[in-house]
């Protein structure tokens, strides 16, 4: 009969007393630490996330339980899946071990008899697998060193050290668990598990040694368990506790930007003393929870096109720097420090303006951490303080006075039509509005997309018109660059014009306008992008396209059509309906598409970068074997055509908009 832990003697103290004490100390410390970590959340801005519990629970099932995003990086994804599964399986086991320190008769509920035996086998293998995985993970970190884990120059290297330290601790925990099992009486461990290995190693060991080993291992387990529990909230492993909540409270509707402040309507914004995020406490509690939950995996930065182009921005650092700030200003031990302005101390202005809001980071994060809202909020704060970048002053002023960033007169907005497209003036009822937006109206090259669109809509016998001089810029990127008030003015103007026109639906060829009309504007008739219209026409046979003789084509997914609005197949269906058209996919396509460089005001912002995103994208197309890039966004067109010249690929690569291609191939 083996001695129970509770009755054993640890240097004059009985097991029960010692472990009762240690459990209590551990739990109290943990509770205290968590309470301290919750403190900034209480001071933060409100963020209503209590709606749609069923949808949220299904997110938890998909992203937390089933680790849905993890396999996108297969190696690390599988390792993490196994560790996570192991942790879930071992929860009961850990509780049982801890309980043994204070009660002999503890048996985990439901796990008695047959179920108990099955569980015993399962958890032994789980512990073994977890152990192997942390070893592999540690080797990856130490030997293979994937780029996304590296700390950039100037940052402390401690994060990788921290990660390896934690992996080691988990390893020790698993070893202690197995050794404790091996030195305890009971069924032999299942074959090839860690415990089994220990059992065999200790087969000939004398009883007193086994006994002391058992007691010692139990103590190691105790300390390691509670050390980990209390250490996790100090670093990247806090995600073990917070991930469930971060995913539950994750933003459901990614296409809608966070309002300036929840609970304050647009009309009342003038009453706020300040807009945007200027200090840490201006973030919402969910954003701060995001900072805690970042596991430092680096996948967001790995996918970020701005970072790849050599801009100062790295999304992961936005999160980890904020977390470091939070830990510094709200320490577990000591008094909170006074708030500082974030931009200028934690963040640089350039970092905040370098983002094109492409959404690659958000599409990748396994914890569903949100980035775009934070960047827009930080921009709102900068604009409120008068710190918009100099290169944007003129386009913003032009937006205000002329309704377009180029400063061209309103009355020339419809000149591109050369009289061939009707203007909506209320007299002649039309049911469809073709919302052209600024770049298609005024840019010499892009006007051809407008004309092609008009011809296609005409060919499809749509009863449509344009707003002409009454149209203003959709304001999509004005909003995303933080000038909320100007955006609202543009939106109100356009909303009035659209409602007065009496149309029942809107079509646009501009994904930024599409996104704005669909998500930023309210009380709009249904909006479609031209690719959706063309795809439908192609499927019903209303649109038939002439064959293409030669050339290899690839489709570049625009960020605001693809990632932000999930329209991936429609443009591909249109291309595939062209007989003889050879299409290849770039390695980074669909929701991993690589941003062309940004649209709207991003065209005017002069970022410091090593190379242009557009140039990188054009090279990806060349690598895929394509000679023609097809896109469905006027800004992508501007950036890609420019990039073809800068990359020196003129003559080898061309770009064409899908509407231009369809217009060309339409049977007459």
């Amino acid at each position: 009969m083996e001695e129970s832990i509770t009755q054993s003697s640890y240097w004059l103290v009985s097991g029960r007393v010692l472990f009762l004490f240690l459990h209590l100390v551990g739990l109290i410390c943990f509770a205290y630490i968590v309470a301290k970590r919750l403190a900034p959340l209480i001071q933060a801005e409100r963020d209503p996330r209590w709606d749609k519990p069923l949808v949220r629970l299904s997110n938890v099932a998909r992203y937390w339980l089933c680790q849905w995003r993890h396999p996108r990086y297969l190696g690390a994804g599988v390792i993490h899946l196994l560790i996570f599964a192991g942790f879930l399986i071992l929860v009961s086991r850990a509780a049982t071990i801890l309980a043994l320190g204070v009660s002999d008769r503890f048996a985990a509920p439901l796990l008695t008899g047959r179920a108990g035996q099955m569980y015993a086998i399962t958890q032994a293998y789980a512990a073994t697998v977890v152990f192997l995985c942390v070893v592999i993970a540690a080797i990856r970190r130490i030997v293979f060193r994937p780029a996304r884990y590296q700390s950039p120059a100037g940052q402390p290297k401690s994060r990788s050290v921290d990660a390896i330290f934690l992996l080691a601790l988990i390893g020790i925990l698993m070893l202690a668990d197995a050794l404790f099992e091996a030195t305890s009486a009971g069924h032999p461990a299942p074959a090839l598990s860690l415990a089994w290995l220990f059992e065999n190693a200790l087969a000939a060991a004398p009883l007193p040694l086994l006994h002391n080993l058992r007691l010692g291992t139990y103590l190691v387990h105790e300390f390691t368990f509670f050390f980990l529990l209390c250490y996790r909230p100090f670093g990247i492993q806090f995600h073990v506790e917070t991930s469930l909540f971060t995913i539950y409270f994750a933003k459901l509707d990614r296409s809608v930007l966070k309002p300036v402040r929840w609970g304050i309507s647009d009309e009342n914004l003038d009453q706020l003393p300040s807009l945007g995020v200027k200090k840490f406490e201006d973030f919402t509690w969910k954003h701060i929870l995001d900072f805690y939950s970042c596991a430092d995996c680096g996948r967001c930065s790995d996918q970020c096109p701005a970072k790849a182009a050599g801009r100062v921005l790295s999304p992961k650092l936005l999160t980890t720097k904020a977390r470091d700030y939070s830990f510094r200003h709200y320490p577990v031990l000591g008094k909170p420090e006074p708030a500082q302005a974030l931009v200028g101390t934690v963040y640089s202005e350039e970092e905040i303006w370098s983002c094109t809001t492409c959404g690659a980071c958000e599409a990748e994060c396994p914890l569903l951490v949100e980035y775009i809202d934070k960047i827009v909020d930080l921009r709102r704060g900068l604009v409120d303080d008068g710190k918009a970048p100099q290169s944007l002053h003129k386009p913003l002023k032009a937006m205000e006075s002329r309704g377009n960033p180029f400063g061209k007169p309103e009355k020339k907005r419809a000149d591109w039509t050369q009289g061939s497209v009707p203007l909506l003036n209320g007299a002649d009822a039309k049911d469809t509005l073709y919302f052209v937006d600024s770049i298609t109206s005024y840019d010499d090259r892009i006007q051809s997309i407008g004309r092609a669109t008009a011809r296609i809509l005409g060919k499809l016998r749509m009863n449509f018109g344009i707003l002409g001089a009454k149209e203003r810029d959709s304001g999509h990127d004005v909003r995303r660059f933080g000038e909320e008030t100007l955006f609202l003015a543009l939106r109100d103007h356009n909303t009035e014009a659209i409602q007065a026109s009496g149309v029942r639906r809107i079509v646009t060829a501009d994904p930024h306008a599409y996104n704005a009309l669909k998500h930023d504007y309210r009380d709009m008739p249904p909006v479609e992008h031209t690719t959706q219209v063309m795809a439908r026409a192609v499927r019903t046979g209303q649109l038939r396209l002439n064959p293409v003789e030669n050339g290899v084509f690839t489709y570049h997914d625009p960020c605001y059509l693809g990632r932000h609005n999930g329209i991936y197949e429609d443009p591909r269906d249109v291309l595939d309906s062209i007989p003889g058209l050879r299409r290849v996919e770039m390695k980074r396509c669909k929701d991993r598409s690589f941003c062309c460089g940004g649209g709207g005001l991003a065209l005017f912002y002069e970022a410091k970068e090593e190379q242009r995103m557009g140039v990188m994208r054009v090279r990806m197309a060349a690598e895929a074997g394509a000679g023609t890039i097809v896109t469905a966004c006027p800004y992508c067109m501007v950036n890609i055509e420019d990039a073809i010249k800068v990359a020196g690929l003129e003559g080898q690569m061309t770009a064409i908009d899908l509407t231009e291609l369809v217009d060309r191939q339409m049977t007459s």
Binding site: D270, D384, G386, L392, H393, S401, G407, T485, L486
Partner: protein, 260 residues
């Protein structure tokens, strides 16, 4: 330091295509977008930066009509503490010298350590600052690209001169300076800022408030009309295909010694 900035509302040349109207004698005013003169805006920003360092306040003044209030509001949204509109039917049609005389009366009714104007506005005259200084008998410097406040009531200023060089001067206060674009990076004024000053009352002063002689304000230099000069001979335009043009140009360059 109490700083006065004299500003003017002008048609923004970067957002307008200035064209002659139907009469052929004036410019087309419909559809023009107006804003504060660019170098005046730089002057206000410079004043705000100086006052942030030394304390004091910034006042912005313009001579015109009700429609000119919008630039005063914009500069207040930028941070100017006070704005004044000088308006009177007697002042309409004043030339630069007349404006300077009006401003002189305004300056003398108040107390300012430093008076700033932009280098030049839409008419390219670049004169009000220098004239105002002479009328007030204050020292003057134009094309100022840097200002440093020294002890003892003096400023160290840099002026832009030929070849991109900088001429450093010491100038006694009170003085008048005309500010060149590029001296600083003006802060952004958003729509929200302007809305917040939309209902602030802006005092308006007329001829009787300023006690200025109407004769001083009448124009001595008169603009008779606007016109676009006939094109004249201009350049010899090369046409043909790009290859042909390149060829023709190549031969011309060779002949003119352009190729080494």
């Amino acid at each position: 330091m109490e700083i006065l900035v004299c500003a003017k509302r002008v048609p923004d040349t970067s957002e307008n295509e200035i064209q002659l109207d139907a009469s052929g004698k004036d410019i087309e005013h419909d559809d023009l977008v107006y804003s504060v003169n660019e170098s005046d805006n730089y002057a206000v920003e410079e004043a705000l930066q100086i006052v942030a360092r030394t304390g004091g306040s910034v006042t912005v003044v313009t001579v015109g009509g009700e429609e000119d209030e919008e630039i005063l509001r914009r500069e207040m949204a930028m941070g100017a503490g006070r704005a004044v509109l000088i308006s009177d039917p007697a002042f309409s049609g004043s030339d630069g010298r007349g404006i300077a005389a009006i401003l002189q009366a305004f300056v003398q009714a108040g107390h300012y350590d430093l008076i700033l104007t932009g280098v030049q506005a839409d008419d390219g005259c670049a004169q009000v600052g220098g004239m105002l200084a002479a009328m007030l008998d204050y020292p003057f410097a134009s094309l100022v690209t840097s200002i440093e406040v020294l002890q003892g009531g003096e400023l160290k200023i840099g002026r832009e001169v030929e070849g991109g060089s900088k001429e450093l001067n010491a100038i006694e206060l009170p003085c008048v300076l005309s500010i060149q674009t590029g001296i600083n990076e003006p802060r952004y004024v958003g729509m929200r800022g302007i809305r917040q000053v939309a209902s602030v009352a802006i005092p308006t002063l007329g001829a009787s408030d300023l006690k200025v002689d109407a004769g001083e304000c009448a124009a001595k230099v008169r603009r008779l009309d606007y016109f676009v000069p006939p094109a004249g001979k201009g350049a010899e335009m090369l046409d043909g295909s790009r290859e042909e043009v390149v060829d023709k140009l190549f031969n011309l360059l060779k002949a003119k010694g352009g190729l080494n």
